[in-house]
């Protein structure tokens, strides 16, 4: 009787071990599936024209996404200018000065902001920047993305600042450094690796966002000089082309998808590798 039960338990153990292992491998293989499809379908559509030409009018084949690439870069720049300083300073406040109650409120609110669906952030940017002037603009798109950058940057800045041991701060203060001096000349430089990678990761995250741009930056079939005109971007182009009925546009959507995913993954990989190395190197 005991024998049979033991055999049953052991086989169950082996079965569950394999099942859970299969689950993990299945999830990982999705990543490779995605990459595979994009490389296959997108790779064959990538050509020089893709990077240098403007999109052709509806129905004509050929053309490229030069304006979308530039557009995405412009929007990222704006998002960085708006979101990074706020996230960095707020992170410094929470880690170095934060009062108990106010600090809690700020942290809670930031988490709240982080959880807001990106399309709702798009509505917010719309009401602030599109409604009053009655036209779409790069500024509105940058605003939406910038707001999304804030919580991610703030959280990673705070985390990396808190990881700096108190003994380092004490060492600086014992030499006669005031608090802000200690932060500026010892703590921030020591945490800079992590903080910068946190910033890059947040930018990589918003680079792929589509929803908040749909009615803020909107889109543009040509170049968009300045900041107050509608502007094209890679994710929005992918969306528009993918849902269209034209095969040629589908091809271009794959190519754009490959570029976008490639950039996002490279940024993520690079940042995580840097982080793991900095973490290991910090001995003593």
């Amino acid at each position: 009787m005991n024998r049979a039960r033991l055999i049953w338990r052991k086989s169950l153990n082996a079965i569950m071990l394999s099942l859970t292992g299969v689950a993990a491998l299945a999830v990982v293989s999705i990543l490779f599936l995605i990459l595979g499809y994009l490389i296959y379908n997108g790779g064959k559509s990538l050509n020089w024209a893709f990077f240098t030409q403007l999109p052709k009018p509806v129905g004509e084949t050929g053309g490229g996404m030069a304006n979308a690439i530039v557009g995405s870069l412009k929007l990222l720049l704006l998002a960085a200018l708006i979101g990074l300083p706020i996230g960095l300073m707020a992170g410094i406040y929470l880690a170095e000065f934060g009062g108990k109650v106010f600090g809690f409120v700020v942290r809670y609110t930031t988490d709240l902001l982080n959880g807001v669906p990106s399309i709702v952030i798009g509505i917010f940017a719309y009401s602030l920047a599109v409604l009053p002037v009655k036209h779409f603009s790069a500024l509105a798109g940058g605003l939406a993305l910038g707001v999304m950058v804030i919580p991610i940057t703030m959280r990673s800045t705070e985390e990396f600042l808190r990881a700096i041991p108190g003994s380092l701060r004490e060492g600086a203060m014992a030499l006669g450094a005031s608090k802000w001096r200690t932060i500026a000349t010892v703590v921030l430089p020591a945490a800079s690796g992590g903080i910068i990678t946190g910033m890059l990761l947040s930018l990589a995250r918003v680079a792929g966002e589509t929803a908040p741009l749909l009615f803020t930056a909107f889109g543009n079939s040509s170049w968009s000089p300045g900041w107050s005109q509608p502007i094209s971007s890679l994710p929005v182009m992918i969306y528009n082309y993918a849902i269209s009925p034209y095969d040629d546009w589908h091809r271009q959507a794959w190519a754009a998808g490959l570029i976008l995913l490639g950039l996002v993954l490279v940024a993520n990989l690079g940042c995580r590798l840097v982080l793991s190395r900095t973490g290991a190197g910090r001995s003593a």
Partner: protein, 327 residues
């Protein structure tokens, strides 16, 4: 300069060149104030967001009142709007995605946290974290060109032939619909379930597992009967987090759900979600009431995700503090 009386150090300093002290004190004070202003800016931005949502949905809220939440009509021509089909679609796709993602994600998390050797689980977890970084529109791309045809040619017919008697699998199958959206959403939220559950499982004290093993339990028994229950509140929290994310997901869903504002029992039928209708119709909304109704939908979505995220966080913190038994 020496005083004979006993003093309390909290008294403001007087000795030394006043300007020097003032400048120094100012330095610290200024830094404090500057960073505080930025932190307060976040509070300002969030309040403005809520305010704008509230104010710009006023038209729609005053016209439809609470009926908005349970009316099924969506008629831009006659300016009559109700949110029920969208709430229905949002919830159905989210639930379907969880039904697929939770077992899959939990199994994978258990494997990675407890059953696999470290040199396996670390690189696999790393890759799964990368999956979380894939933009939603890319999932949508794959959804349209891979999942939808698959649904139309393989999955749909199989389901109909085997389980076709169930109302959820009846009706015509075009490839787009609730089930397709649910599948794509499941793929999107599974990395979150895995990474949060894995972290939560890793916080379970090893003495728990070792105690079970020392009593002669198999590895699976130790994991399933001791470790997982200890972490169950946190795991539940990860499910809530995934749910919140699924509710707000826009692009991938928009591309595969069929964009039909109807409520139907069949999962194979096309539908609509809150995020999808906003994405599709916002930029072309003519008329203030139309726009206001769409913004009211945004407000509803905001509230749903707000509540869920709050609950999720409470659950996850509860595991980190108490573990196992909710006190």
């Amino acid at each position: 300069m020496a005083t004979a009386t006993t003093i309390d150090h909290a008294a403001p300093p007087q000795a030394g060149p006043r300007a020097f002290i003032a400048r120094l004190r100012h330095g610290d004070e200024i830094a404090h104030v500057i960073t505080l202003v930025f932190a307060a800016a976040i509070l300002l931005i969030t309040s403005m967001l809520i305010y704008e949502l509230w104010v710009n949905s006023l038209l729609s809220r005053t016209k439809f009142g609470w009926h908005f939440l349970w009316t099924s009509v969506w008629d831009p021509v006659f300016d009559n709007f109700g949110s029920l089909p969208f709430i229905y679609g949002t919830l159905v796709t989210a639930v379907v995605s969880l039904l697929i993602a939770v077992p899959l994600g939990l199994a994978a998390a258990i494997f990675l946290a407890d059953l696999a050797p470290r040199k396996f689980s670390d690189p696999i977890s790393f890759l799964i974290d990368l999956l979380a970084a894939v933009p939603s529109v890319i999932y949508g791309l794959l959804g349209i060109f891979v999942v939808v045809p698959l649904m139309r040619t393989v999955i749909g017919p199989v389901l109909k032939s085997t389980l076709g008697f169930l109302p959820i699998f009846q009706g015509p199958n075009y490839g787009v619909g609730f089930l397709t959206a649910g599948i794509v959403l499941a793929i999107m939220v599974v990395p979150f379930i895995i990474s949060v559950s894995r972290e939560v499982l890793l916080t379970v004290p090893r003495e728990q597992r070792e105690a079970a093993l020392a009593l002669g339990a198999t590895r699976w028994e130790a994991t399933w009967q001791v470790v997982v229950p200890w972490a169950r509140t946190g795991i539940l929290g990860s499910v809530f987090l995934a749910l919140a994310r699924a509710l707000g997901e826009t692009m991938a869903v928009t591309m595969v759900i069929g964009n039909d504002p109807k409520i139907s029992a069949s999962l194979l039928a096309p539908g609509y979600t809150i995020a999808a209708v906003i994405a599709n119709e916002f930029s072309e909304a003519t008329g203030n009431l139309y726009l206001s109704a769409l913004i009211e939908l945004g407000l509803v979505l905001f509230l749903m995700t707000f509540i869920l995220n709050g609950l999720a966080r409470i659950l996850i913190v509860a595991t980190e503090r108490g573990g196992g038994r909710p006190s």
